[in-house]
């Protein structure tokens, strides 16, 4: 307990592997280290191993190989009820035969906390989620959002240092989800708790987290803060999975001081940042975010390379315009422009020229 500074790893996965059937690995060589107070999201498609990792951390699954440490001690052999980790489940898992107050009292009762202290803690926890008026209700009498708040309060009421959340907002509608995203983040930061949050919703991951671990095929593909993840994806899976993305296939022609020249399959040459391409002649997938594509030549750097494009479709989306183009043989190249007074609305069939800053264009693995 002595040196629990924020820098020291609070939660650690070291070379963790998990297999259910002895044939396939669900989690392959997982290494992860979290400081105290961090909000970390495990993001990935279903079957990518993120929930398994969470369950191993909670103690409901045992790691086939490797070590999981909490506050410096290995918890591989500690049963779940002794780990003191709060958990919020996907379907809330509120006990239907107990009232809201009884649900919250449960973790306190099993910890043999006295009645008055218990009531005070329940009151405080319900206050945190603005649900004090609902203490006497049964879970079935609450709406989905209210149930989620109670589940959150129950996971927090015994003041755990680490809280795990397994797709807690998956069943809620969009508006409620956004409200709760904000509330959960705020609560986590106010209380200074460490949170491991599992979701397959990338917006959720980007808006809530300090860092996001993108899972795919049992491995972490990239572990980075949201902005880096979005702007500087390290491989094409991350680039595709996070946000909308345009990809163009090509071949590396030359790499000079941090810039690669890529010849697209259409023959055009473009500049890109080489991320995981290293040698000339390698196949590459070039990735550009739709909102970083520029149609106004004056805003590009002098001498920047441009591409010819034909407008195929113009979609009015309110705050933005979404225009689908044919670029270098690809029919689903999308650009997004802000709905500003001076913004032109392109009509299908128009021939335009597009370009981008070289640092926004990333040459990734094919």
């Amino acid at each position: 307990m002595a040196n629990t500074s924020t820098d020291a790893a609070f939660v650690e996965f070291e070379r963790v592997q998990k297999s259910y059937d002895g044939v396939n690995l669900v989690v392959k060589d997982l290494n992860l280290s979290m400081p105290r107070g961090e909000f970390l999201t495990m993001l990935g498609p279903s079957g990518s191993g993120k929930t398994t990792c969470l369950m191993m951390l909670a103690g409901f699954e045992t790691a086939t190989h490797g070590d999981i440490r909490l506050g410096g001690t290995s918890i591989n052999n500690i049963p779940p009820h002794k780990r003191g980790i709060g958990m919020v489940f996907q379907n809330y898992a509120l006990f239907p035969h107990m009232t809201v107050a009884e649900n919250l009292a449960f973790p306190l009762e099993v910890r043999k906390i006295g009645k008055s202290e218990r009531e005070e803690k329940i009151h405080r926890a319900l206050g945190m989620v603005q649900m004090n008026d609902f203490a006497g209700r049964r879970p079935t009498q609450l709406s989905g959002g209210q149930q989620q708040r109670i589940a959150l309060a129950r996971a927090l009421v015994f003041e755990p240092e680490l809280v795990l959340m397994d797709e807690p907002l998956g069943a809620l509608d969009k508006q409620l989800r956004e409200t709760l995203q904000f509330e959960i983040t705020k609560l986590a930061h106010d209380l200074g708790i460490t949170v491991v949050y599992v979701t397959h919703d990338q917006t959720e991951a980007l808006t809530m987290s300090d860092r996001v671990a993108v899972f795919e095929n049992g491995r972490i593909q990239q572990l980075a803060p949201p902005d880096q993840l979005y702007e500087k994806p390290e491989n094409s899976f991350v680039a595709q999975f996070i946000g909308e993305n345009n990809t163009l296939m090509g071949e590396v022609k030359e790499i000079t001081n941090g810039t690669a020249v890529v010849q697209l399959d259409g023959g055009d040459l473009i500049d890109a940042v080489p991320v995981n391409v290293s040698k000339v002649g390698e196949r590459t997938r070039v990735s550009i975010r739709p909102e970083r594509v520029e149609m106004n030549k004056e805003r590009l750097m002098p001498g920047a390379k441009t591409l010819k494009a034909e407008v195929l479709e113009f979609i009015y989306m309110g705050d933005i315009f979404r225009t689908r183009l044919r670029v270098a043989g690809s029919d689903d190249f999308v650009i997004k422009t802000r709905n500003a007074p001076d913004q032109v609305r392109l009509t299908p069939g128009t021939q335009i020229e597009i370009g981008w800053l070289p640092e926004d264009c990333r040459a990734l693995d094919a």
Binding site: H81, M87, F106, P107, V110, R154
Partner: protein, 555 residues
């Protein structure tokens, strides 16, 4: 316009677009749907009604039905009503006379033995009294007939009687005819409404009421029950007896022609009729005691609580209600035993079934399926086979005893008695009813998501606490459903206690079966069945109040 509509909605009933009240409009729209739905289930509904509800209803009705006494001895019952059984005096002469006439008719219709066995349920010995009396009742009447026929040979001829009694062109007493139709019909459990070519003469009914009445009774019986024409046949010997009795005092001045001639001749016959009390006492001295009369009077009402009283070891007496003699009190004990043993069986089913249901709900599918087959296997075996198997297992020379002796746990001389007692019944029935407990439990447990247990553990509960505080309460609806099912099934179980129960392990249903098929006391059987049904409904109601029937889930 929209204002007006709004006001309508606020002040009066809401209207449909065409101005009719919305409620009516909705009802009309739904009526067709409902009608079609009803039509769809109609065959099943009718089937259930006809084959299930009606027979059960009529069976239950038997538990209070008691019109046999009043139907067989209508006159006697009526006259006996004013007699006070507690006075210690015998009934009046008129009662004896009515009994003679009623019993004669009953004996002719061969209904007296039925009444005898009915009253025998209340007072043993009455059955033989009635059988005996039925055999000897016509002695006096035969003598009277002989005397009349030897003095006036014309009376040997049935046609003479017919001419005498039939209205012909005279005024007919149709009231008497229909009353006798009713009386014979009730006696024979038939309608007695067939066509007949006879109507009692109103004149004769005035002068010789008893004779006319008896003749009409006979004529109705002859025509409707036997299908013979009364015009050509001799009446019962009862009619000459009535005639001779009435002629002693009758005033024949109102008669003319053949009737006057015949009856004046008959009036001359000297036949001495002793008091009917002596006649009956001659037939069986018991008629000279209070007991049979008391019994008849006590049980003469058309509906009786007597069967229900018998069912709870009590009986109706002239003074009110009393317990049966000690040695006959078995039914309450049997009810109690049935309830207690059913509870024991239910509890042991819960104890044995819960872990199995839990395994079924939590094992991987392949293993759970195998286990499910094992649970269902007994269902595919005949009940009789399963019960007989327990006989093989439990008897003193049976498998279990043999093994225990072989292991040296039990001395060969003192083999355990595990069958033909309550233990045998409990073991066999627990085994037979176990699937009915496991299946509802399993289907409820299946709906409890494993995340609840995980949640409980993540909140700091040990395995046991998580189970007891979180899983178990959610499985209670399954226990409730299984318990109701097993309890209700076991409370009415018959075949297994019959086979392995011996004398100490039988249930109330075995007694019901005995009364249905052996003692033929259907009224008592129906009363026992009704009580059983009431007990089950009562327990169901209690369960609903305590646990709530909404909490019962079969899946």
């Amino acid at each position: 316009m929209s204002n007006a509509l709004n006001q309508d909605a606020e002040n009066g009933p809401v209207m449909a677009a065409d101005g009719t009240p919305l409620k009516r409009s909705l009802a009309r729209a739904l009526r067709r749907q409902k009608g079609r739905a009803l039509l769809l289930i109609a065959p099943l509904l009718i089937f259930v009604l006809v084959t299930f509800i009606v027979p059960i209803g009529s069976m239950l009705f038997r538990s209070v039905e008691n019109d046999i006494v009043a139907n067989t001895l209508p006159d006697t019952v009526q006259r006996l009503a004013s007699w006070d059984a507690t006075s210690g005096e015998l009934p009046a002469e008129g009662v004896y006379e009515a009994m003679y006439y009623d019993l004669f008719v009953a004996a002719e219709a061969k209904r007296h033995t039925r009444l005898g066995s009915r009253l025998n349920y209340e007072e043993s010995g009455i059955s033989s009294l009635f059988r005996q009396s039925g055999r000897k009742i016509d002695d006096l009447a035969k003598d009277a007939t002989k005397a009349l026929e030897s003095a006036v040979p014309a009376f040997k001829d049935g046609e003479t009687w017919y001419a005498l009694m039939n209205a012909g062109n005279d005024e007919a007493n149709s009231g008497l005819l229909s009353a006798m139709r009713g009386r014979i019909g009730r006696l024979n459990d038939s309608s007695a409404s067939g066509d007949m070519d006879f109507a009692p003469s109103a004149l004769m009914a005035d002068i010789l009421p008893l004779t006319t009445r008896s003749y009409t009774e006979w004529a109705v019986y002859e025509a409707t029950e036997e299908g013979r024409d009364p015009a050509t046949r001799d009446p019962w010997e009862l009619v000459p007896l009535a005639l001779l009795q009435e002629l002693k005092t009758a005033d024949l001045s109102g008669l003319t022609g053949t009737r006057a001639e015949l009856l004046t001749q008959a009036q001359a016959v000297n036949f001495d009729i002793p008091p009917y009390s002596e006649v009956l006492a001659d037939i069986d001295p018991e008629w000279g005691t209070i007991l049979p009369w008391e019994t008849i009077q006590t049980h003469s009402s058309k509906y009786t609580a007597g069967y229900f009283l018998n069912a709870v070891d009590a009986q109706k007496t002239p003074e009110g209600y009393a317990w049966q003699p000690e040695d006959k009190q078995i039914l309450l004990k049997l009810f109690g035993r049935t309830l207690i043993m059913s509870m024991i069986i239910t509890c042991s089913c819960i104890l044995l079934g819960y872990p199995v249901a839990w395994l079924l709900a939590n094992l991987p599918t392949a293993k759970a399926n195998l286990l499910m087959i094992l649970v269902l296997l007994p269902f595919w075996t005949s009940l009789l086979v399963r019960t007989s198997a327990w006989k093989v297992m439990l008897q003193q020379q049976g498998v279990i005893n043999d093994v225990l002796v072989w292991l040296g746990l039990v001395d060969d001389a003192n083999r355990l008695i595990m069958i033909n007692n309550q233990f045998g019944t409990i073991v066999a029935m627990t085994h037979i009813l176990l699937p009915f407990m496991i299946l509802p439990m399993y289907s409820v447990m299946q709906t409890v998501p494993p995340s609840y247990l995980r949640a409980a553990k993540s909140l700091g509960a040990t395995n046991w606490t998580a189970f007891w505080r979180v899983y178990f309460p959610q499985s209670i609806p399954g226990i409730g459903a299984g318990s109701i099912l097993v309890f209700i099934l076991s409370i009415g179980y018959y075949i297994t206690p019959e086979i392995v129960g011996g004398t100490k392990g039988v249930f109330i249903s075995n007694r019901i079966a005995y009364h249905i098929s052996s003692s033929l006391n259907w009224g008592l059987a129906a009363a026992l069945g009704s009580i059983l049904l009431a007990v089950v409904l009562l327990l169901y109601w209690c369960y609903d109040r305590i646990v709530g029937i909404d909490n019962v889930k079969l899946g």
